[in-house]
């Protein structure tokens, strides 16, 4: 059984570790006021083995996502589900990044990148030795780090 106050403290520390350097100089962590009354009646399963904590972090952009600092005020909203594994708390985080990117002045401009392997057969691709070598290198890296597929 997880004490909601313990869970809140864990999430506050968790969010602060992730965001305080990139988004300092603001209100920092707070329970998300989009859910009034939550603190008195926390969202949890019946036996409190999982507690849901909606939160927000307010700060100024000092380099969000490793990009240049704009000093613009940014609010990041998220939900963290706190569970317990033996005596250790675990956090599963769902963060709404798109509004934060918009507030940070980060524009995405891109095109869908398509793998040639979805268009041509492996045999066709390997007709060019340089491409065959590159495909082998990519597969080695994927295998080494357990990165399969593109998802």
């Amino acid at each position: 059984m997880i004490d909601p106050n313990v869970a809140i403290n864990a999430v506050e520390e968790d969010v602060a570790v992730a965001l305080r350097e990139q988004l300092p100089d603001g209100e920092g962590f707070a329970l998300d006021d989009a859910f009034p009354g939550w603190a008195d009646n926390p969202l949890s399963d019946s036996d409190s083995t999982a507690v849901v904590i909606p939160w927000r972090w307010d700060g100024r952009n000092a380099g969000l996502l490793g990009l240049a600092a704009t000093r613009r005020p940014i609010t990041v909203r998220g939900v963290t589900i706190v569970t317990e594994d033996r005596d250790e708390l675990l956090c599963q985080r769902y963060v709404d990044w798109l509004p934060a990117l918009s507030q940070a002045g980060i524009a995405l401009f891109t095109r869908p990148i398509v793998e040639l392997s979805t268009v041509y057969t492996d045999e066709e691709l390997r007709e060019t030795p340089e491409l065959a070598e590159a495909l082998d290198e990519i597969q080695r890296v994927r295998d080494q780090f357990g990165l399969s597929g593109t998802g």
């Binding site: 990117l101 990148i113 491409l131 990519i138």
Partner: protein, 287 residues
């Protein structure tokens, strides 16, 4: 356009057309100054561009007006400018993704300035255009013999629409002793970008290319014109490990999108014309 940069068949025809004659280049600049519709300029109608999906001059004009500039036809069949920006109902121009603006104006001004440099003339001011438009220009607005070759490239994606003009005077007196390069840097129009510059030798764009532009590691140009890309052989979107529950204090903000790892040896590719490459002998302008 499966590459990030392309020559584009229509621009290669524009080059053939405009670089072939100083008089043609002069008239093109004046047409642009005088506000003539760009879709009505001669290269758009060149029969050498009769390939699907825009395989007639009318379809190409429609493509330019609708997709490039965001215009629509009114009840009389006339092209009318795009409506004002509206975040809900008109947030983008033409087929450009996530961008609204005056693409036609940027393109027109880019080509006017590129042609003026090519021809060794000042960028004509509005008073002169008003005074002489459609009536023939005085010597000071058309004189000289300079006619530097113009080259056009299209680079995408960028956050907004820009035309870049690079030029160099090699010195000396000859009329063609210099060059002008235009790079149209545009927003994405959403088409796919392939993760390698290499194509299988039997792929459709390679085998169906009437100009035989595709080559891997060419040692010499196949002709007087060309567009080569130097890159690693493949680029892989590296999947990120899905985050599971972890103890507090063990996460960081994510990478923006999927990180890419380039792999393999450095190669030089001459793309097929159908993929945006340049015909080694140019593409003729054929009325």
């Amino acid at each position: 356009m499966p590459y990030t940069t392309e020559k584009s068949m229509v621009f290669q025809v524009v080059e053939t057309w405009g670089n072939g004659s100083r008089d043609v280049a002069l008239q093109a600049m004046w047409d642009l100054l005088d506000g003539k519709a760009i879709s009505e300029l001669a290269p758009v109608a060149s029969t050498t561009l009769n390939y699907p999906p825009y395989d007639t001059p009318d379809l190409r004009r429609q493509h330019v007006e609708e997709h490039w500039w965001g215009r629509t036809k009114d009840a009389t069949g006339a092209w009318v400018d795009q409506p004002p920006y509206d975040p809900a109902n008109n947030p983008t121009t033409g087929f450009w993704k996530h961008w609204y603006g005056n693409a036609e104006g940027v393109f027109r001004e880019t080509m006017i300035r590129a042609l003026a440099i090519s021809l060794g003339l000042p960028r004509e001011d509005a008073q002169d255009t008003q005074k002489y438009g459609g009536k023939g220009r005085p010597l000071r607005l058309r004189g000289g013999s300079q006619h530097w070759p113009l080259s056009i490239l299209w680079k995408c994606p960028s956050p907004w629409y820009e035309g870049w003009i690079e030029f160099k005077d090699y010195g000396g007196r000859p009329a063609n002793n210099g060059h002008v390069t235009v790079v149209l840097s545009t927003p994405s129009h959403g088409v796919k970008l392939y993760d390698s510059p290499i194509r299988p030798p039997g792929s459709a764009t390679v085998t169906n290319d009437p100009y035989h532009a595709y080559a891997v590691n060419p040692t010499v140009p196949a002709g007087p014109e060309g567009l080569w890309v130097v890159s690693q052989a493949a680029h892989c979107l590296m999947p990120t490990v899905p985050p599971g529950p972890t103890p507090p204090g063990t996460w960081t903000p994510p990478t923006l999108g999927q990180p890419v790892m380039s792999a393999g040896s450095v190669v030089c590719i001459s793309p097929a014309v159908g993929d945006g490459g340049a015909s080694p002998t140019g593409i003729p302008y054929t009325p």
